[in-house]
Each structure stands twice: as structure tokens, then as C-alpha cells.
Amino acid sequence: MTEFELSKQRVAEGRESRKAAEMPRLSADEKEALLHRYHPDKKKEAYATIRIGPNQGQQTVHEVVRLLEGESPLTSKAPDLNPAHQVDVLIIGGGGAGSSAALMAQAAGAKVLMATKLRLGDSNTVMAEGGMQVAVSPEDSPVRHFVDSLKGGQMANDRTLLKALVSEGPEVAKWLIDMGVLFDREEDGNLSIRSGGGSSLPRLLRCKDYTGLELMRVLKDAVLNEEIQLLEFSPVIEFLTDGEGTCTGAVLKDLDTDKLIVVQAKTVIAATGGIGRLHIQGFPTSNHYGATGDGLAMSYRAGAALTFQDTFQYHPTGSVFPEAMAGLLVTEAIRSVGAQLLNVKGERFIYELETRDAVASAVIRECQEGRGVETPAGRKGVWLDMPLVDVLHGAGTLAEHFPNMVKQFSRYDIDISKDPVLIYPTLHYQNGGVKIDVDSESTLKNLFVAGEASGGIHGRNRLMGNSLLDIVVYGRRAGKAAAKRASEVDFKPLTLSHLDPFQAAKKAAGVVSETVSPILFPDYVNKG
């Protein structure tokens, strides 16, 4: 029997004796020491200093530095900036934040154009499994949700943004339910809630383990019912400004023809999502194909400041075996209901519902110190003992509550009700992003940013279930604020003149860039 098989057998043998065992929680000092030593955010050689722009002198990972310091696909002498479209609100991105923004802006009477790199709905939103945190139970409160999120964010969260996030949770839940989102219910009609890591009370609304799919399906359908003007397969490649610090539109690229499409807009909302497909520090990712940080690069060049651009979330439980599933997420909710993490010896090594940064660090520690399990493809991981869920709650629990997980693994002949699976942290979320105020406006006037592309709400670590809430709360806020602003201002000149000082700064700082950003897609094509 291989070491792999032997280790798996040890997990099965230990299951019965482990099932009721308590695992001590980390003290604040222990957690800090663990993060300091093992969290990828603390790995100095992975980081570099940003040499130009609003965040000059600050640090982020090499992959993001390359993006921020990248060459524009256009020059300020670009030929023709005659607009093909003139709208009140241009929304870039067709995920949960962009769709929420579009619905609100449209409802406010604005003329809206949505442009998206792939199809409407193609986003990280659709992949969210665990749920959406909203303080609905009588024992809970928005204040308590705030405290949990702040502690989870290493006390770094922007408190004004966070207060708005948790306070509008119940209103947003109602908005979604009124549109037909079918959250799981209890017998009495109340919303069924579940615990998540770092939360002091159960607070996760969910639709089995298809929460993001359900949200996105409904939001997408609502956008289509509103007949909002939509340009798919048309990513934005550069923002336009008046040259004096106001965003005035954007240049899109039609992916089929490579033709440029100029849009003049009174306000622009960037809901461009995250960065997983940059494969920061070589990590696999749970993210969507289009998650290449486009909004970061373009906002930055146009003059918008970033915040917390140095911190990322590595979700503790990304699949590492079989190889075809590498990086795919195994929802945290499965640990909420009792699945345990075990090293090669079949021993637990962390309380499974510590915050994601701590659990990921502990998994990395086990693997670095020789207590990981090696996959046939040479990856390292630890076991996630999912069969324990059925032992604890009765046979069929996994099938009933995690149909998506059961199905994902069954394609590769792995029965998660019988066998543990191997996991390792996967690049999951950009904790920071473009700095915004409580109306979602960036430091570049009339450029609003919502969802994962923005930063500050989650501090240095986002709690499970706060992202689905974020995209809807701030998507809505951005949509409302941008529509209102659009009603107060006129169209302004379309220029790329902001590229000139950016180029000059690069030259002065000696930055030579081989990257053209936004990169739009990861490069997976075999060049032979």
C-alpha cells in the first residue's frame, strides 16, 4: 500500500475516536505567531515595492506590481475617441456587484450600459458556495456581525464601510427574497442559518451549497427582464478621463473583432472582480477564468488609490487531488458541520473554524514541516474528513446539504461520504482593492468601484459569507450613487491624457515593463 493509501486508512480508523474530541482554539498571540510564520501574506520575497502612482512606496506581491506598473494597451495619442455610446452609467463587469448596480441605476431612471468581458453572470459570484452573512436571528444583531467581521479582519477594516455592510444586510436579504432568491428555510418559514469560521453566532443564509449560483441566476434574469443594454465579450481596456481627475468613460475591446468601442459616461462603475487567475505566489485558484484584476490596473493608471493591496485570502480548503480538480473549492460550510482537518498521521492540528487566514496557515505549516500528504502529481495537502459529517449527523447529510460537493468529487469516483479528500490553500480572494467611500466612489471622481475590486471593507481577512453580502450591498450603493451623480453632471471630454504623467513617472522611476495590462485572460495555451 502506498503512503497515500496508508494515510487515508489512518484517517478512517481514527474517525470514531475523533468524532467527539474538542480542539483547543488559538489565543490571540498564538494566532498572530502562526500567521506571521506561515501565512503567504507574510512571505517577504513574494513582495515588492510599487514604484509609481498613488500607492508609490507601498508593497504588494510581484504579480500585482507587474499589473499596476504595466503598459497601457493604448497611448494618449490613440486615434479616435468619438463615442459609440453615450450613457449616464457605464457598468463594467457582469457579476453580482455589476448586476446589483445595474438594477439600482436602472430603477433610479439612469440610462445604463453594462459591458462584460465574458457573458453576463460569468464571475466569482456564481461560484460562491457557503452563503451570505446577515444578522437575522433574534439573538443576533448587526453590531455583533460588525464585531465579528472586525476581529476577523485583524481590526483593519474601514469601520464606516463595514457598518454600512452589516446594517444593510437585512434589507438586502429582503431585496433578494422579493426577487425570488430561494434561501433555505426552516419549517416555520424563517431563514435557515449556519455557522461560519470567525462568527460568534450562526448567520449564513444559503441555498444548499449553490448560494452564489442561485443569486447570480436570479440577478442575471432580473437584468435581462429589465432589458438593460448589454455588451458581452467586450472588456474595458482603459478608462477615459477629462485629464483633470474625473472619469468620463472607457474604451472597450470587442473580443471578436478586436475593434475598440468608446463609451462616454457621466459615471462609471467598475465591478471587475478579483485576481485569482494571476496565480499569486504560484498558488492554484478557486477563481473564475476572468479574474485577472483588470479593474485594479486601469483604476490605478487613471489615478485612483488602492488600499490593502498587499493582502489576499488563501482559502484553506482547495482540492489538490485528483489533479484535474486542483484549486477547486471545498466549501467552508462543510467544516461548520463538523468535517475535520488531519495531517498525514491522521492527527488534527487546528480548530477547524478559526478564521480562514489561520486555518490556511496551519495547513501550510503541516505541509512545510513534513506532515503533509503527497499526491501522485507531486502536490502536498492534508485530509479533509468529510465522511465524519455523516457520522455526526446521520447518513445522507452530505448528499442532502452538499449536493454540489458530492457531485464534483463523484465525477472522479471519489465518494465523499466514504473517503476523505486532500486539500491545500487555494488563492481565493483579494482582501483589498480600489479605495472607496461609503457611496462606493473611488478617489477618482465619478469612478465608482464595487465588490471584490474594491478594498477596505474586509480589512486584512474577509469572513466567510461577507463577500456575497458585500457585492450586493455595495453594488446597490454604487448603482444608486452613480445614477444620482449622473443626474447632476454633464458629459465631459474624453481623453487618455492621464497616461502621459503615468508614463513620465515610469520613466523617472526607471520602470521597464514587459506586461501589458489589463491582461484579460490567464495564459494557459501550450505554445509547443
Binding site: 465574458l118 444583531s141 455583533r144 481590526m155 426577487m179 441566476r217 427582464n225 465579450f233 457531485k407
Partner: protein, 230 residues
């Protein structure tokens, strides 16, 4: 797939597959989409979440053993020797009917106006066989026709709107759109009220948490960290 794993795959045993009409040698163990990248395809249409949940990569394929044309999500299906496959267009928007839920009075009747084909199912079961998510699509359509929206909605829970069920329907039904309409209608018209949520909204409206906010936001970090149950 990271660069490192791509390196490893170069040394894996190769198999022969036909991708959109052209034969390629690719390493074992790849998904259809990974095989396309290996064969040099640049993907815009056809790639999405890469996790089987967004419906961007519906595909049709045959295997060495079987000439029957089967359906799959290309990001979720491993290639095998002798397989022939092709991405198919996602039929998503063209069968979608605009529905204004604020105007609908009787959603169980309205379905026959919006999607009149719903009543015409001839039980061939092709939709169910085409579904890569294993949904009992045919039963779902019948439940829509009979007004059993609650059970019908539940059947379509995992629908990724890939549309593979649409072109196979001999009655021209768009089952995925019928399923989504049924789910939304179930939520909008028939689900119970959430008492706790309504109570919480009322509490927020009357400012129940205002003093608590004021107190908390004035505290230094250490005090918040020490904050017991609020």
C-alpha cells in the same frame, strides 16, 4: 492549472483525442478545456468558472466504445483515448422571455403565455439525458405544467443554465428557462414570510441599535477585542 503542473503533464502518457474535428495527442488526465489549451486553442467563449457551475462550456462528445453523442461540461470532464468532442454554443439568451413579475397576477397560468410549449412535453426524456448536472429535467417541466412549483423549483436547484436541454427538445421547450421562471415565481409568490427578518428590519427602522453603535464605535481596539457577546 499552474505552470508547474503543466510541466508535469508534459511527461504524462499521451492519448489521442479529436477536438472540434482535428486530431491531437494530449497528456492523460486533462479536462476537455485543458486539452483544448494544450492543443493551442485560445478560449474566450467556452471558458468560465472552470468549476462546473457557470454553464459556459457545454460540449458534445463521443467515445471509442460508443457512437451515441453525449453531453458534458468541458471543464468537468476528463478526456480519454479515442474521444471526439466539440464545444457547443450556449443557447442561453435566445429562448429567454422577458417577464415582468410585478405585473403577473397568476404565475401558474402566466407560464402558458410566456412559455406556451411547456404544455407540450411528449415525455421523450431527452432533456434529462442531456443534463450534465443530473437534473430530472422532464419531471421539472411537468411540475411546471401542473403548477407544482414548489417541487419543480427544487428540481432545478443545481441548473447552471448551460442550455444543453434546449436544442434536444422535440417540443421546442426551453426547460432551463421554464425552471428558472418557476423558481423565481415560487420565491416571489408562494414562499412563507420570514418572521425574524421582518422583525429585524423593523428594529433597524426604529433605531433599536443606534445607541449600541454609538457606544461601540467610540471604543478603542483593545476594548472591541475584549467585547463579550454584544
Amino acid at each position: 492549472m499552474t505552470a508547474a503542473s503543466a510541466e508535469e503533464k508534459k511527461t504524462a502518457p499521451t492519448i489521442t483525442v479529436e477536438i472540434m474535428g482535428k486530431t491531437h495527442q494530449v497528456p492523460e488526465g486533462l479536462t476537455m478545456l485543458q486539452a483544448m489549451w494544450h492543443a493551442g486553442h485560445e478560449l474566450t467563449r467556452g471558458a468560465g468558472c472552470l468549476g462546473g457551475i457557470c454553464g459556459a462550456c457545454p460540449s458534445k462528445y463521443t467515445t471509442k466504445e460508443e457512437t451515441k453523442i453525449k453531453t458534458a461540461l468541458a471543464c468537468q470532464t476528463q478526456v480519454e483515448d479515442g474521444m471526439s468532442f466539440s464545444l457547443v454554443a450556449s443557447y442561453y439568451p435566445n429562448r429567454k422571455v422577458v417577464a415582468d413579475f410585478t405585473e403577473i397576477k397568476d404565475p401558474k397560468q402566466e407560464i402558458f403565455r410566456l412559455y406556451p410549449e411547456t404544455a407540450l412535453c411528449r415525455n421523450c426524456d431527452a432533456c434529462t439525458q442531456a443534463c450534465p448536472k443530473g437534473i430530472d429535467v422532464r419531471s421539472g417541466v411537468w411540475k411546471a405544467a401542473f403548477g407544482d412549483f414548489k417541487e419543480g423549483a427544487a428540481l432545478f436547484l443545481s441548473c447552471v443554465m448551460c442550455s444543453l436541454c434546449v436544442p434536444v427538445c422535440i417540443a421546442d421547450i426551453a426547460p432551463n428557462q421554464v425552471g428558472l421562471y418557476m423558481r423565481r415565481a415560487q420565491g416571489i409568490f408562494f414562499d412563507q414570510e420570514c418572521g425574524h427578518l421582518s422583525a429585524r428590519l423593523e428594529e433597524i427602522d426604529r433605531g433599536k441599535f443606534d445607541s449600541e453603535w454609538k457606544r461601540l464605535l467610540s471604543l478603542p481596539d483593545e476594548a472591541i477585542l475584549a467585547e463579550p457577546r454584544v
